[in-house]
């Protein structure tokens, strides 16, 4: 391509180390950034600072015992990981989940989607320098969801709730009323939040047109989730390959065209609304009956392999399991969304400033636990 | 009591230090700084004359302001030249830059 720059002087690029313990690398991501003044010439990602060997550890645990491990994959949306893993195991062992279990799963999955987007949007804005305020507003909503999760399963962050064949415990009595109260409240909050930031000139200047991910690049990189939808790829496993009972609900897939950071922010806000819509429908329809299929404590799926995937909050999250008819998976591979989404980073940041690098990185919304596994 | 002479001597000393620096240093930026010192010395003289000889007129101060204008222009262009030279030769050591020595 050509230079538009007429006046310039040559400087020698220098290398700056960002991470692993940097305030805005969302954990321990490390990049070596080659800078020319403030302009990012290139980045070199460095992984493995949180490589915890989850895939390997799963080979020595029972199928049920793996569920706590999946929690720790994408710790910002633990419930989604549980679900994806259980979907895969159920495919492998051919277990049918009772209706009530499916509905509870849908409700919790959508709740965790909202919670995750709260964090994603909040931390992106925090990286853009909004010193905590929007982050804390969003976190306050997330905290409400944490309350509900805690009511369900006794833990705030790492839920370990969804089990093979259903969920671990039934809904407590006070859960659905509380959720019903929560839905209009979040609607109200989202409107207020949009009023708060949507038109903010600085945010627009910082995010609009920044870090554009073109549609073809997104497709080639295998990007999924809000990141892909912001680039105009209308793909959502909930519609394209309905798992659980998603085909019974009405909802839209929000997309945007530009694929910049601002669009990602908007798509996430829209998705929160859609999730609320699904929750609203699901609450009304939750059937009675058992919440968990009769599954033995220690299952031995028949030898074979299965790939179960769901539309996680960050995108397509898949578990590929191979069974050799023992109590533990023979091999497990995780299609971790964050890792694959992160591959687009280098193409997005070249030529932007170091401040944009942070915002673009924030807008991808990764969790290091999932990247390094 | 401090009189005009004191100021003039101070200015002379400053000027000569600047001159010495400008003649002997090889680093172009330092030479520029030395020139600034000399200009400042001149300014001190102007203001001292102004305030001791025509205290009500301020002519010297007006001149001093013009000197500052000139100094600003000089620094701007001088540093631009230095930067241009540096860009080409990766060096600002005057002795090593043969181009100016013809």
């Amino acid at each position: 391509m050509t230079t538009t720059q007429e006046i310039s002087l040559q400087t020698e690029p220098f290398v700056l180390n960002m991470g692993p313990l940097h305030p805005s690398t969302h954990g321990v991501y490390r990049m070596r950034v080659t800078l020319d003044g403030e302009v990012v010439l290139d980045i070199e990602p460095m992984f493995g600072y949180l490589h915890r060997g989850i895939e390997k550890l799963m080979e020595e645990r029972t199928y049920t015992g793996c569920i706590p491990l999946t929690d720790r994959l994408d710790y910002a949306s633990a419930m989604g990981n549980n679900l994806a893993y259980c979907v895969a195991v159920e495919k492998l062992a051919k277990i049918r989940v009772p209706e009530r279990g499916e509905y509870i799963r849908v409700i919790t999955a959508e709740m965790i989607r909202i919670a995750n987007h709260c964090l994603a949007v909040g931390s992106m804005l925090n990286d853009a320098g909004a010193l905590g305020t929007p982050f804390f507003y969003l976190w306050n909503e997330r905290e409400k969801l944490y309350d509900l999760f805690e009511m369900l399963c006794g833990q705030r962050v790492l839920h370990n709730y969804i089990r093979i064949g259903g969920v671990s415990q039934d809904l407590p009595d006070e859960f659905l009323p509380a959720l019903e109260k929560f839905v209009p409240q979040l609607h109200k909050f989202i409107n207020e939040f949009e009023f708060f930031l949507k038109q903010n000139e600085i945010l627009i200047a910082r995010a609009q047109g920044v870090g554009v991910l073109p549609k073809d690049v997104a497709l080639n990189c295998g990007i999924s989730g809000p990141l892909a939808r912001a680039s105009g790829i209308k793909r959502d496993l909930r519609k394209d390959d309905p798992y659980s009972v998603y085909d019974r609900f009405e909802f839209d897939i929000p997309t945007a065209e530009n694929g910049d950071c601002y669009d990602r922010y908007r798509v996430r806000m829209e998705e929160m609304k859609q999730s609320l819509h699904i929750i609203d429908q699901a609450i009304k329809k939750v059937p009675g009956g058992p919440f968990r299929a009769k599954v033995p404590q220690i299952i031995r799926p028949p030898a074979g392999e299965a790939y179960g995937h769901i539309e996680g909050p960050k995108g397509e999250l898949g578990f590929y399991l191979v069974s050799d008819n023992s109590i533990a998976p023979y091999r497990c591979h995780i299609r971790s969304t964050s890792f694959i989404n992160l591959t687009a980073l280098r193409q997005m940041v070249k030529g932007w400033k170091i401040a944009d690098l942070i915002v673009i990185f924030g807008s991808i919304d990764i969790t290091m636990g999932e990247v390094d596994r | 009591m401090i009189g005009l002479t004191h100021y003039l001597v101070l200015s002379a000393v400053l000027f000569c230090i600047g001159l010495y620096g400008a003649l002997t240093r090889r680093n172009a930026v330092i030479i520029l700084m030395c020139i600034e010192l000399m200009l400042n010395a001149v300014n001190i003289t102007l203001v001292a004359f102004s305030s001791y000889i025509v205290p009500q007129l301020l002519t010297g101060q007006v001149f001093a302001i013009f000197v500052m204008v000139v100094a600003a222009a000089e620094v701007a262009v001088g540093l631009a030249i230095i930067l241009a030279i540096f860009r080409h030769y990766k060096d600002i050591d005057i002795d090593n830059i043969n181009l100016l020595k013809w």
Partner: protein, 219 residues
């Protein structure tokens, strides 16, 4: 200035990676035993190195009431650490909402997450670069013992293998209240210990560690 699309503006990282590996191996070898808990040191021999003893309580009060934290949230416990600062639990009430990204200005290292061996030299370095007096809270099962990942080849079984830990907060992750309780315990300890022990005079395994800086010099 032009950016060449095909040029890789990346320094040769192979050598750096090799060095990193060597440092990690060295570290693994030198940290077979965990560092004894500072609680034991302090109770054992309290070295009072303060002249103005009558001002002790003022000093302790100041240190106690403004614990600025260094940034270190590798993994899931970081979520609860953020929740501690967030409105619901509001760690700022104790004057600790100021997160200093630079360890020079921080007093407290809350190790919120799993520590892998690859990360260990960095955390050690951050800890070393913190200005004294400094404290460490090991948060979560991973901080205490490696937690769920302990059986992995790649996880440090507890932060006390590489840095001295003052307070351990169990849980996976601990609730924000649990963390706040841990911080209060630490505050109590700061009050009780009167003065921070002079770390250099104690049997401190930190002193015998490989120095990553020196290794880099040869390049």
């Amino acid at each position: 200035m032009e950016i060449d699309e095909n040029k890789e503006y990346i320094y040769d990282s192979y050598q750096l990676d090799c060095d990193e590996g060597k440092i990690i191996e060295q570290m693994k070898a030198s940290t077979k035993k965990s560092i004894p808990d500072p609680a034991d040191w302090i109770d054992a021999d309290l070295k009072r190195n303060i002249v103005l003893t009558s001002l002790d309580w003022v000093i302790d009060w100041a240190r106690r009431s403004s614990l600025w934290t260094a940034i270190c949230y590798p993994a899931c416990c970081g979520m609860e650490w953020m929740a501690t600062l967030a409105p619901r639990f509001d760690g700022s009430r104790f004057g600790m909402e100021i997160m200093r990204a630079s360890p020079r200005q921080a007093d407290l290292l809350i190790t919120a997450g799993t520590l892998t061996w690859k990360m260990a030299p960095n955390v050690r370095r951050i800890y070393n670069q913190m200005a004294e007096p400094k404290w460490v809270i090991a948060m979560g099962a991973c901080g205490i013992s490696g937690g769920i990942f302990r059986s992995g080849y790649n996880v440090v079984p507890g932060y006390n293998k590489i840095i001295p830990v003052d307070v351990y907060v169990p849980g996976c992750p601990p609730r924000p209240e649990a963390l706040l309780y841990g911080i209060q315990q630490l505050q109590k300890k700061i009050g009780r210990a009167k003065a921070v022990p002079d770390l250099s005079e104690l049997p401190n395994p930190l002193n015998e560690l490989p120095n990553p800086l020196k290794k880099d010099k040869k390049k």
